[in-house]
Symmetry: C2
Subunit: 147 residues, 2 copies
Amino acid sequence: MVDTVRFRTSPWVNTLTNHRVSTLGDLEIAVLEDIWRFGPSDTKAVYARIGQSRSISLNTVQSTLERLFRKAMLQREKISHAYEYSARVSRRELIQKLVESTVRRVAGPQPDALLSAFADLAARADDDQIKRLEELIARRRAELDQT
Amino acid sequence: MVDTVRFRTSPWVNTLTNHRVSTLGDLEIAVLEDIWRFGPSDTKAVYARIGQSRSISLNTVQSTLERLFRKAMLQREKISHAYEYSARVSRRELIQKLVESTVRRVAGPQPDALLSAFADLAARADDDQIKRLEELIARRRAELDQT
DNA sequence: ACAAAAAACCGACCGTCAATCGGTTTATTG
DNA sequence: CAATAAACCGATTGACGGTCGGTTTTTTGT
């Protein structure tokens, strides 16, 4: 019964860059969030902070960390006995990547889709927001120059 | 065997706004794309334009249109015998929604996550891009005022 | 050195969702 | 009213996140 080969492009692979940009599940985001907040941690620590309350098992946290590692959102290092996971992307970088791939996915013919998307945003912003935006941009600029 | 009830928050529901923001599949995007490009169309027309080449069946296109309709990305109207589907969101609106929900999903404590993401982008932009960005914003502003 | 404890690893299962289509029902229309 | 066309229904597949239980490997205390 090999008459029709079904093929579906995985939404994972960005064919341009061959760079994976994934969708993240709720738990995955929570875990990332936790590591951003508390810094490098091992499974136990993350479990203690977010697993306990959700009444999920240590194993679940474990495999989520693992998945995040495979997705290159986390890196890990064996500290004495256990892996210590740490963020490989900052929240801002994550948002950046996610937004960029989202936009690129629905981007039309226009080359400036990203810019365009944000132009919409900026156009809607009120004076107050504009002001904060300018400050933010200035700060980011400073950060960049400093590197 | 009702000892453990597993529960998983659907990534569909934005609890803040109770507004559904979905992920779109590749075919779904292609179909939307097609309708943006060619305007209101019935299943046959869409199939002729994008189904033929992909060697998928008319039914597949049909259910994709249906799904898009359920997701409120398309509206439809019975024209004589067949449904005619038309876009309910423009490409820009779609990008807007998608970006916004993406950001909100990973947004930290900061209230200005969206702005912040924008700031990152702007900070990275070169002079040329900034110029185009300003033009874009001006144009969008004009469009808004005109309403 | 070895047994107990801890952590990693493996593999399975469930639910959801997009993609895909065959077959049946329900219009349309000549 | 019969033939044709479109809509509708429901089933299957593959991917993926979430969830664990059990087994293997590694660490460590005595």
